[in-house]
């Protein structure tokens, strides 16, 4: 009960909602630290995933990247990469990009490979060009799996951006880092609640889009469900831990 009071007390203190250490500012920092790496990772991984998924060449590369991404812990990635970029707000971005690439690339590849070959051949028979096939047939059919990869990456990035606060910079993880440092349970719990909420909302938002895509895909082309194409029924696991 004491702990709940401490957290409630923290949230009801107006001082915690203003200034550079206030919730709005820390949240904005966290969002920037999550969205920027995601955009860069999408710009890199999506075209590569589409290319190897469409041609079917380079599949071994995708699998190798997936396995490597799984084995390298996100926190280790941060500690190794951060010093090269200085200890500032944005120095965690390169590590976060590297973290986000494997799930996006692998799911894009797996999603495309999972598209019914008959559909693709039918499109080809209708005289569609390779680009038209990609845009009109393969991407729509693979959309749920691609979005699932984005979700895995986004949740991992939000979680690891939290860890970045331990070594540099701001974001919501700052509260947890300071809570540990100052042994302030109210601050610690408040930070934990904010970080947990942000991660859960991120996960829900992507799941929502994924389900809508799956429904649309199913009504458009019967037979293509939101099947998980990973070798196991797990959603592509977050690379090297969830951070």
């Amino acid at each position: 009960m004491e702990l709940v009071d401490a957290a409630v007390g923290w949230f009801s203190n107006p001082a915690n909602w203003a200034g550079t250490n206030g919730v709005p500012h820390r949240l904005a920092e966290h969002l920037v630290l999550s969205i920027v790496p995601m955009l860069i990772a999408v710009a890199i991984a999506l075209p590569i995933g589409l290319a190897i998924g469409h041609t079917g060449r380079g599949g071994l590369l995708a699998i190798a990247i997936a396995n490597l991404g799984r084995a390298v812990p996100s926190y280790a990635l941060l500690l190794v990469f951060l010093p090269f970029f200085g200890l500032g707000e944005s120095s965690a971005i390169p590590a976060l990009v590297l973290l986000a690439i494997p799930p996006i690339l692998v799911n894009t590849y797996a999603g495309l490979r999972g598209v019914d070959r008959d559909l693709v051949e039918a499109g080809r028979g209708m005289g569609m060009t390779e680009l038209e096939l990609l845009r009109g047939v393969e991407i729509p059919a693979a959309a749920p799996v691609i979005i699932a990869g984005l979700r895995t990456a986004a949740v991992a990035v939000v979680a690891t951006a939290t860890l970045a606060a331990l070594v540099a910079g701001g974001g919501l993880g700052r509260y947890i880092a300071d809570g540990f440092g100052l042994q302030d349970n109210g601050l610690l719990l408040a930070g934990a609640i904010l970080v947990a909420l942000l991660a859960l909302i991120t996960e829900r938002a992507f799941t929502f889009v994924e389900r809508r895509m799956a429904r649309r895909g199913r009504s458009a082309e019967a037979g293509i469900g939101p099947t998980s194409l990973a070798p196991t029924p797990m959603p592509a696991p977050r690379s090297g831990g969830l951070a």
């Binding site: 084995a71 926190y75 280790a76 979680a159 993880g173 831990g241």
Partner: protein, 212 residues
């Protein structure tokens, strides 16, 4: 790189590696027992599937640092906090794979067991679970590799194994302490994955015979 640091700190690195392995083994072991029991429960009572995987899904999504922050005010900077956090991440992976393995047993195999007069329990242990082994092992491999990475984060509550060495190195601007830790963690993850894959092969001799 300061090679002399590595040679003079070998015992420390070895101890951290062993700590890391122990933290991982406890988490995956406890997580496996819990998940196995929960999966069998769900297998028998399908209504429980939604709530159980829902809770496991939330635990899986909450960032580990936040989970440790929730636990520390209650269970302190202890191995208990670390293990509760680590175990909770294994649940979703292990439950999903165990269930998928059991659900993947072909209907005709099930009927054959029924026809031979197998009761539900004997059918489960003699037919269904052995056929689910490949997916259960796949779940264990993912859970183990994930846990090895997450143990690092437990360094913030003083339980991080190799993570502890890396963070100390990072804080003292000693890169030489960061790299061996990172390399050892990745090596540990790959080694554990290979060992489990080997166990999976040994546990399913029929799969090899069929493949020939």
């Amino acid at each position: 790189m300061r090679w002399d640091w590595i040679t003079s700190n070998l015992p420390q690195l070895g101890k951290a590696l062993i700590d890391h392995l122990i933290l991982t083994a406890i988490a995956v072991g406890v997580g496996f027992v819990l998940s196995f029991a929960l999966s069998l429960l769900i297998y028998r009572r399908r209504r429980l599937a939604g709530p159980v995987t829902g809770i496991a899904g939330v635990l899986y999504t909450v960032p580990s640092l936040a989970l440790f922050a929730f636990l520390v005010p209650i269970t302190g900077l202890s191995i208990v906090s670390a293990e509760i956090g680590l175990v909770s991440y294994t649940l979703l992976i292990l439950i999903r794979n165990t269930l998928a393995g059991l659900d993947g047993v072909p209907a005709d195999v099930r009927e054959a067991a029924d026809g031979m007069g197998y009761g539900p329990t004997r059918k489960l242990f003699a037919v269904e679970l052995p056929l689910a082994v490949p997916l259960i092992i796949a779940g264990l491999r993912i859970a183990t590799v994930t846990t090895i990475g997450l143990v690092m984060v437990a360094a913030v509550i003083g339980q991080g194994g190799l993570g502890q060495v890396m963070i100390r190195g990072f804080n003292f601007r000693n890169d030489t302490a960061v790299y061996p830790g990172a390399i050892l963690i990745v090596a540990l993850a790959i080694a554990a994955d290979l060992v489990l894959a080997g166990i999976g092969r040994l546990a399913t001799p029929w799969a090899r015979i069929r493949g020939r």
